[in-house]
């Protein structure tokens, strides 16, 4: 069933488009430092970074075309990773 599956080949054009998207996000991230957002500056930077990371994993790391097993595994581990960081940090803040 699975073993004769066609291997997906990313086209050069699609990879180039992903790069353009990443560069635009970087530009937004850099210019956002000049917007004087105050307390939410860090949050904005981290949200943009997370979108970039998601884009790299989906297209450059080919996750969009991997098996459901690998997709679930990677999503799950990143979820646990975020929980470990967030819960530990909250624990520190509320001490």
């Amino acid at each position: 069933m699975m073993d004769h599956e066609e291997v997906h080949v990313s086209s050069y054009a699609s990879l180039a488009k992903v790069l353009v998207a990443l560069l635009i996000l970087t530009t937004i991230s850099v210019s956002a430092t000049g917007w004087h957002l105050g307390a939410i500056t860090a949050a904005v930077a981290l949200v943009i970074a997370s979108i970039k990371v998601g884009t790299v994993i989906t297209y450059f790391m080919h996750m969009k075309f991997e098996s459901l097993f690998l997709k679930l595994l990677v999503t799950g581990v990143f979820f646990i990773f975020a929980l470990v960081i967030i819960i530990t940090f909250i624990d520190y803040l509320l001490r």
Partner: protein, 204 residues
């Protein structure tokens, strides 16, 4: 369902990639620990971190971000080239990736030398006399960017091995797991930098 042939290249490639991802998870948690230490000290000494972070050059940081993003694309493209049997293009793309990685390291060299010039290096008298939070910021800065640069170097070695193996015809359109996994490693180096860059250079 047909019986999967355990000796087929496809199964090999699936398990090989799974192994690589599991290794990448350990790398993620290695840097995750440092991110957490950074977040806690930043919350404790926000004034000092604010002051110290202004010492970093956001322009160099942005330039290095661009180098790594473009190199991530070229390495992804080299995989496409191998799959399409375009061997010379694949060699050119891996070489481009190595070139961009070298530019990143050169930039890092200038950045660190500049700080060393002002005696801002771990253990220096200048650093010891700074406020506690600033000392912690520079300690974390050197630890995080240093560990990341070490990963860039390892990635460069891996990519060089791939270059030799593409030239010799060992990596082909049917057998490219090594290139695929090395590309995954290279993307991870990029991912970590995507978080390091705003944390150290932008949020001041």
């Amino acid at each position: 369902m047909t019986h999967p042939d355990i000796n087929s290249g496809h199964m090999d490639s699936q398990t090989g990639k799974l192994g690589m991802w599991i290794f990448l998870f350990t790398e993620l948690f290695l840097f995750g620990g440092l991110f957490l230490v950074y977040a806690v000290f930043r919350a404790t000494y926000s004034e000092d971190f604010h002051k110290a972070a202004r010492e970093l050059n956001a322009f160099i940081g942005t330039l290095n971000t661009i180098f790594l993003l473009v190199s991530s694309m070229t390495v992804a493209m080299s995989l496409t080239a191998i799959q399409k049997k375009q061997k010379n293009l694949a060699i050119f793309l891996v070489l481009s990736t190595l070139f961009l990685a070298a530019l990143f390291m050169l930039n890092k060299y200038f950045e660190w030398s500049h700080k060393f010039h002002f005696k801002l290096y771990p253990g220096s008298e200048v650093l010891k006399n700074l406020a506690r939070g600033e000392l912690l910021f520079f300690g974390l800065y050197y630890m995080m960017t240093g560990l990341h640069a070490l990963h860039v170097l390892v990635g460069m070695i891996l990519l060089s091995v791939n270059l030799v193996k593409i030239r010799s015809g060992w990596i082909t359109s049917k057998n490219y797991l090594l290139l695929e996994n090395s590309a995954l490693y290279w993307h991870l180096v990029d991912l970590i930098w995507i978080f390091l860059f705003p944390l150290l250079y932008l949020i001041t």
